[in-house]
């Protein structure tokens, strides 16, 4: 969700102006919540591997001191960040479309989920419309309930519940759904396979995935896993949502996203604000991040820098052990074992309230070279999922086939581009779904019904426009 916009004090240098983390493309978080099965999956707590996940960046709330300079900087780097999001979104869509086109399992009607109990195989169109509206209403209510539940849990600091919820969801996705996917791919290509090999493969895939996503791992691997689980989730949606329901849900979710992130009483906005008040990161592992911050670079000879570095990792640790968050204010929330660990690593440097205050008083633009390459963008996994659902459904059910798929793809990319532009201008959490999904839906229906007959006729006569 939301962009982990935790408000961390400015001593986390180097990452301040990366307000991109505040890319509110966070709204994926909410989407994740909406996810029926794995509601929790999306909520991942701060993990210790925050460095690899670029979380510290998320932690920095943009404390904009010179608006104009920041605005120039952010917009100047805007194009690069747009591409950093284009690539994973494209990859996810490519995986989904390739699967839909080759593995027939995901286009076969094998029933519906309990969240969409009304069937669409009805006699009249009116009945079908009514059923799909009811289905969409039920689904959206489930999502709203889950979101509010999440906000409540977060507000009352039930971090363990959230954490457990997330772990279970990612377990489900990484093991069970990928097992089914692998099985279907083997069936499609008629590959003979034994259970032992499959067990070994799925075990390895799943465990490495859990480690990469919830803990530490190479950035590219983590990104790849996030793309894969988004694709798997999108495929599940494509399979189990009947047609009209799917389109309605997409439309309603964009509206919900808009409301939840922008309205003052929206659950997601409340979530973000609560996280900001507590100076915590917000479920970083549920977010696709394009870069990670190398805290190692910051550990120099300078003890002050070392203190800063230790504070960085401390902060993450602190977030990771929220139960210690309410410990005595003296030790700054550092647990005993962490302190021993730190002492072993870099020598006994105690941070006192004075040193902390001194660091906090430092100017936000630190003297260490702020590498613009290090600034990353973040997009929530829910956005990936719903973009892929749209494009996947377009490729599965459109009469225009590849033309429609291509049109939806371009529409979604342009929507993402516009969203990022708005982000660069407004610099606050923004929902990433509405613009893209609107464009996608408009182009899907227009291309399928208007452009396809035209192109068909042109191809028939071999006319070129």
């Amino acid at each position: 969700m939301t962009e982990l916009s935790a408000h961390l004090p400015q001593f986390q240098h180097g990452q301040l102006t990366e307000n991109f983390p505040d890319n509110h493309l966070s709204n994926t978080n909410d989407n994740s919540e909406r996810r029926r099965h794995d509601n929790s999956e999306r909520r991942r707590n701060d993990n210790p591997g925050s460095e690899t996940n670029g979380q510290p960046q998320n932690n920095i709330q943009q404390v904009v001191e010179d608006e104009e300079e920041d605005e120039e900087l952010t917009l100047k780097y805007g194009a690069k960040h747009v591409i950093m999001l284009f690539v994973p979104v494209t990859l996810c869509m490519v995986v989904v479309v390739a699967t839909i086109k080759s593995v027939s399992f995901y286009t076969r009607k094998d029933g519906q989920l309990i969240y969409t109990p009304f069937t669409e195989e009805t006699e009249t169109i009116g009945q079908r419309a009514l059923n799909s509206i009811l289905n969409a209403a039920i689904m959206i209510s489930v999502i709203i309930v889950m979101t509010i539940l999440l906000v409540v849990l977060y507000k009352y600091r039930c971090y363990k519940v959230i954490h457990g919820w997330l772990i279970i969801s990612s377990l489900l996705l990484l093991f069970f759904f990928s097992f089914i996917y692998l099985g279907e791919v083997f069936k499609t290509y008629n590959v003979a396979m034994d259970y032992i090999t499959v067990a070994l493969m799925i075990w390895n895939f799943g465990v490495v995935g859990m480690i990469c996503i919830h803990w530490k791992g190479p950035l590219r691997l983590q990104q790849a896993y996030l793309i894969m689980i988004s694709a798997l989730m999108a495929l599940v949606f494509i399979k189990y949502l009947p047609e009209w329901t799917a389109w309605l849900i997409l439309a309603v979710i964009s509206v919900y996203d808009l409301v939840a992130v922008l309205c003052p009483k929206g659950p997601l906005r409340m979530l973000v604000e609560t996280a900001q008040e507590r100076n915590e990161t917000l479920f970083p592992a549920l977010i696709y991040s394009s870069t990670m911050v190398w805290l190692v670079n910051m550990a120099e000879e300078d003890p002050e820098a070392q203190r800063k570095a230790s504070k960085n990792s401390t902060y993450d640790k602190q977030a990771n052990q929220p139960q210690n968050g309410d410990a005595e204010p003296d030790d700054g929330g550092f647990s005993q074992e962490w302190q021993q660990q730190r002492d072993n690593r870099i020598g006994p440097i105690e941070s006192t309230p004075e040193s902390r205050a001194a660091v906090q008083a430092l100017p936000s633009n630190s003297q260490t070279s702020e590498d613009p390459e290090e600034r990353g963008v973040k997009l929530g996994l829910g956005d990936f999922i719903f973009y892929s659902v749209l494009v996947g459904k377009a490729s599965a059910t459109a009469s225009g086939d590849w033309n429609t798929t291509l049109a939806c793809f371009v529409a979604i990319l342009i929507g993402l581009c516009l969203t990022l532009l708005l982000l660069a201008i407004f610099k606050k959490a923004l929902p990433a779904l509405p613009i893209s999904i609107t464009f996608g839906l408009v182009f899907y229906f227009a291309t399928d019904n208007l452009v396809q007959p035209f192109m068909d006729q042109l191809a028939f006569h071999q006319f070129y426009i």
Binding site: A79, W402, F443, V451, F454, M455, H461
Partner: protein, 261 residues
């Protein structure tokens, strides 16, 4: 139809465009965005023209073959005009974007020039146009079937691929010519682009008499190529120096933003 046909036609149609993309556009994020936005504009123009055609068809008698063909021809012409109109709109948008980029840059000059934008916009239009023409054909080429079994031309896929390639090139050159005309207020350049586009699309009405469509299109493409090259600062000397592998003075004859003169 086999994999050979599929791959052959894919590379004929999209090979040059793909290499243009890889070598000149893929490195720069801003150009990729301009490319995708160009594709988007072309798509919108196609949408609107299909809407008009659809309305016309629905309002007419579906059994009248000649009328349907006439409506299709009208649809093609209208689509061409609309595409050029959207190219103009895109030019306007890019002009504004350049002003924004200049305002935001540190040294007061835009990271990309209007000429580069013209080229990228042309490639964007071309790629989208080619994709829409060719992708469904390619998907069909993978499946079973025999080309021309009912008496139609057996060269359908091949000629489609060649036509797509020439259209992609033409869109690229038209982009450069069009933007140059808009920049320097030379309306006859713009008119020439529109007329060329109408001519190329019109020549496809001769299909399946491919000599009537492919040959004029390629000739027009060669003419547009030479014209665009000259407008971008190229000259016979540059070409000779390039071919003889002599050192070029930086900024000569390339699209690196040298102002059009």
């Amino acid at each position: 139809m086999t994999l050979a046909v599929f791959f052959g036609c894919t590379f004929i149609a999209f090979g040059p465009a793909l290499s243009l993309f890889l070598f000149t556009i893929a490195r720069d994020p801003l150009r990729i965005i301009i490319l995708i936005a160009g594709a988007f504009f072309w798509l919108v123009s196609l949408l609107l023209s299909s809407l008009i055609w659809f309305i016309a068809v629905k309002a007419s008698d579906p059994r009248d073959e000649a009328l349907q063909r006439g409506l299709l021809i009208f649809g093609v012409m209208f689509s061409v005009l609309l595409q050029e109109a959207f190219r103009f709109l895109y030019y306007k948008l890019l002009r504004k974007a350049i002003e924004g980029l200049v305002a935001l840059s540190e040294d007061g000059c835009s990271p990309i020039s209007i000429q580069q934008m013209a080229y990228v916009a042309g490639v964007g239009f071309g790629l989208m146009s080619g994709a829409f023409s060719m992708i469904n054909l390619l998907a069909d080429a993978l499946g079973p079937g025999t080309v021309g079994i009912h008496g139609d031309s057996q060269l359908y896929f091949l000629t489609s691929a060649f036509m797509t390639m020439v259209l992609i090139f033409l869109h690229t050159f038209w982009g450069i010519l069009f933007f140059h005309g808009c920049e320097n207020q030379r309306w006859w350049e713009i008119a020439a682009v529109v007329l060329m586009h109408l001519a190329v699309s019109g020549s496809t009405f001769w299909n399946p008499l491919y000599v009537g469509s492919l040959v004029p299109s390629y000739l027009l493409m060669a003419a547009a190529a030479v014209w665009a090259y000259l407008l971008s600062g190229g000259s016979a000397q540059n070409l000779r120096r390039f071919l003889l592998c002599k050192c070029l003075v930086k900024g000569d004859g390339d699209l690196s933003g040298r102002p059009w003169g």
